[in-house]
Symmetry: C2
Subunit: 196 residues, 2 copies
Amino acid sequence: MLQFAVTMPDWAETELAKLPAYLPTLPERMTAVIRFSQLNVVHNTGGPFAAGVFELHTGKVVVLGVNRVVPQHCSAAHAEVVTLSLAQQKLATFDLGGPEMPAYQLVVNWRPCAMCYGAVVWSGVRSLAIAGSGPELEQITGFDEGPIHPHWQAELGARGIEVIDNVLKEEAVTVFHTYRERGGLVYNGRLGDAAT
Amino acid sequence: MLQFAVTMPDWAETELAKLPAYLPTLPERMTAVIRFSQLNVVHNTGGPFAAGVFELHTGKVVVLGVNRVVPQHCSAAHAEVVTLSLAQQKLATFDLGGPEMPAYQLVVNWRPCAMCYGAVVWSGVRSLAIAGSGPELEQITGFDEGPIHPHWQAELGARGIEVIDNVLKEEAVTVFHTYRERGGLVYNGRLGDAAT
C-alpha cells in the first residue's frame, strides 16, 4: 500500500488520555498545548511545537498533536498540519467548517509558518489562537518561519478566521529557551546548502 | 496508535509500477503527472491534481502522488504535500535538499496554493515545474487557490528554488474541463458557510 503516515509519540497518547474532556477557557487550552510542546522537547520527539483542536464554544478536546518533522521524515509534519489532520481523520471529514458542525478552534504555541498559514485556511477552523507572533521564536531557536504572506492575519480574518494573539506568550517562550539549551535540531529546509 | 495517514488509490500503485525508472525530459515528467491527474478524475479518487518528485538532472522517478483531500479526510492532502511526503518517507529524510543528495524537482499540474507554496519551501526541492499559473484553474473548476504570497515566485527564487512555468499547459487544462464536466466536488474550505 502506497501511503505516508505521521505517528504521534507514545507519551502523547498517554497525556491525551489524561486531559479532561473539556477545557472551557482559552488559557486552559493553551496551557495544555504548551505542555505538549515542552514534552516534545523533553522526550526528544520533534521540534518545540504543539497544537490542539477544540470545539470553540464548549472547549471539548478533539485532539492535540506535536511537530514530527525529523522523526517521521516529513517536512510538512508541523504541529498545525499534524493536529488538523488528526482532528479531521478522527471526525471523518476534510472540513472542520462543514455544515451542521460546531465551530472549531486551533490553538498553537506560536504563529503559523508560510505553509501552516495556508493549512489553517483549508482546515475549516473558525478561530486561531496563538501564544505569540513576534521575532522571539526565530531569535531564540533559529527556526525559520518562511516567507509568509505579509498580511497573513488580515487574510485569515477576511476568510472568517479570527486570530487571537499573545495567549500565555511568556510560558511559550520558555519552551523555546529549553529547546535551544538542549541543543535541539533546527530542521529548516535545505540543510544541504547550510552544509556547503 | 495515534496517527494520520494518507493512502494512494490502488490504480496509482499499478500505474507507478508501469512507469520507466527514468523520465529524462521535463515534458515526459509532466505528461506522467497530467496522466495521474486525469486518472484521479476518472477513478473519482480525489481532485484533479497530481505531482511527481524526480531527480532533477537524471529524471529518476522517486514517486508520483495525487490529491486525496476528500476520500482521506485531510484538507492538507493536496497533491504537492502528498507527493513530497511520500518521497521523503521513501528516502527516509525530511529534507530533499540534504547534504550528499542529488537535486530534486517537484512537477505539478498547476501552480501551488497558499499552503503548498510553503510546503515547497520546506521540502528541500531545488526546482518546481508547473503546467500553468494563470486564472484558468479557478475559472474552469471553481477551486480556490487561497491567499498566496503576492510575490510567491520571487520568494521561491530567493530561496534557491527555480520555478518553470507553462509546461504542457493545454494538456493540463483539458483535465480541469473533464473534472467540471463530470461534476467533481469542489472542496474549498468551509463548506458550512457556502451552505448557509
